[in-house]
Symmetry: C2
């Protein structure tokens, strides 16, 4: 038996599947967007993931198709299934990740706690929602948003007039998602992995720090959450309730009263799980491969009291991350650097660093000191 996994999308998530694939002797094939994709080492095809023929051709001979992102169109996903290809997560689960309105509906249907929300099809409806929620709301496009894109904090419906206009032009109708502005103390993320046979494994819940809608830092496990399984229980119920296979990331708000509300879902390895590469016995990338191949899952513990992951956003204004290695690696010989093989660009995720230790403050300090070398 040779195990062959096809990954649609050649970003850093596909790239970070390469090391565990090498270790386990799994053949990884990547359908990349361009020749110079982050996962180019494993790319066996370059093409458009929206093109059915391209994707069907790519999928020939793999044991399972999985994803670097959630943007593959539903008709393509269903055609793969019809052709007898194992697709994990499956089209129905991915549909939920692809549409924030559907996600809210389905989460509510399985009893998961979410912020107050409503679909709004017009400025008039949004104005009504605003009246009911203290004059403030978060408005999101149902489709296509990520890393803070497609999200606005509004006090007036006119602030998203352009989005309503675009919906009208689209001709298919549709709605925006309006949500209450949740007062929260902090954001958490809970990652789990689930195999088709049903087994689910949860990593420790982590705290995520966002900057401008983009994940900047992750503290694992989340401080002051030791012993609580609330987030894990919730994520397990979501993975099971929505029939997700592979890694599922559940982004959460923690309210001042300690209540958890689901903010977003991602059905793939996730930025909040990069700490697991060094920090857990089983990394999210290895676990995702095991899960989509329906292999037994690995232990998802924390190997050290604290692990801190810090994104390298943007990267050096001139040159590459590697230009900084002679100084950076000397300054922090105990912090691990991950470079994604992407050209630096303001705000772009071009890498991350991981530190661990017995003291949280010290670990955060060492991680930030290292990441500062790449600014």
């Amino acid at each position: 038996m040779t195990l062959t996994v096809g990954v649609i999308g050649g970003g850093q998530l596909a790239r970070m599947m390469i090391p565990p694939a090498v270790e386990l002797g799994i053949q990884l094939r990547v359908l990349a967007e361009s020749e110079d994709s982050s996962a180019r080492l494993a790319a066996t095809a370059v093409g458009d993931y929206r093109d059915l023929d391209t994707v069907l051709e790519f999928a020939r001979g793999v044991d399972v198709i999985t994803f670097d992102h959630e943007h593959v169109p539903q008709p393509v996903l269903h055609a793969l299934v019809d052709a007898g290809v194992a697709v994990r997560p499956g089209p129905d689960a991915l549909a939920i990740a692809q549409d924030k309105l559907l996600m809210r509906e389905r989460l509510e249907a399985i009893g998961a706690p979410v912020p107050a929300w409503a679909p709004v099809e017009s400025e008039r409806e949004l104005t009504a929602f605003l009246r009911g929620s203290g004059g403030r709301a978060v408005v999101k496009t149902a489709r296509g948003g990520y890393d803070g894109k497609g999200v606005r904090f509004v006090r007036s419906a006119s602030e998203v007039a352009d989005w309503f206009g675009a919906l009208a032009e689209d001709g298919r109708g549709g709605a925006l998602l309006a949500e209450e502005l949740v007062e929260f103390d902090r954001e958490l993320a809970q990652l789990v992995a689930r195999r088709p046979s049903g087994d689910v494994v949860a990593w420790p819940v982590v705290e995520t720090v966002q900057q401008g809608g983009v994940c900047a830092e992750v503290f694992a496990p989340a401080p002051r959450s030791a012993g609580s399984t609330a987030a894990a229980d919730l994520a397990v119920s979501i993975a099971t309730g929505l029939d997700v296979t592979g890694v599922l990331a559940v982004e959460l708000f923690e309210t001042p009263r300690g209540r958890l509300l689901v903010n977003e879902l991602a059905m793939r390895p996730h930025n909040s799980g990069h700490w697991t590469i060094e920090g857990s016995t089983t990394s999210q990338f290895e676990q995702h491969l095991r899960a989509v191949l329906d292999l037994p899952l690995g232990v998802a513990d924390a190997r050290h009291p604290w692990t801190v992951m810090i994104n390298v956003l943007g990267g050096p204004a001139e040159g590459s991350l590697q230009d900084r290695y002679p100084v950076a690696l000397a300054a922090a010989p105990d912090v691990k650097v991950h470079a994604y093989g992407k050209d630096p660009r303001p705000g772009r995720k071009v890498g991350h660093v991981t530190a661990w230790g017995d003291d949280l403050d010290d670990t955060v300090y060492r991680g930030r000191a290292m990441s500062a070398h790449f600014e």
Copy 2:
């Protein structure tokens, strides 16, 4: 700056350089022996490492050439240097690894403790050596031996008559290496990494268990050696004295009186260092890449009290390692499996497993239980 490392040889050592190269954004190029080499994912050329044109062509545009094995002929190494290519370790250091007689000479010259030895050019000379060493000796061919090949335990010179015959046929003359049969309690291995600028970093010394001349198990750190820097000091002096760059493995005998004697040297990542992939902050494969690129070295600690590495020798009589995953991964979800992408064959190193924990016996037990699934 793009960092590009060319590796001559496509075995599992080159393969295990792929994950850290991906993580650090180092471009790895491998000159492999065949299309289906263990390191095929990173192979950019397939050819004969003894062919000068093949190697020179392969070396174009790399920052440094390094090795999966020590068999590249001296004329090829020197031609690379003459062509302006950085070769690490360099030809003079590799010459010592390539010739056991030269190795003994040079080790003695820098004051490293070695077993009593002599070059023997005839059965008559070997008979004389046997008389002086209690009637027993280890005889080794000066070149070409590894994993127990080219090594015999003899009581009579006639037992290596064929080797003397081959030396005579060779026409170049030469000698065999005769060594006293050292009484030792156990075998240790000390790995260090050294950059061209001189910095050297040592991992904890480990105990190695050999079966039929092949490394079977490694316990890290070596039990009862806590706090002793004798092996590390010795290996650092050898790396410096012989001007080795990259990873140097020093295989040692520990005598009943606690004396250390150098058995063998390897100037590359080594089987006794596979535990570092999970067990140390910096794996030997990452460190080797950093060292040959003359980048600052990483911390070479032990992340847990005990780490145990067990080789998978031979592999399943039928099928592949992967065929065993459904049962093996379920039985030991906290033990890591490394498969080398090589077909099973009796005695062949086709993979290894790594376990870690707070108790040595338990860790050994878990490792052996996992490796047994691949027999």
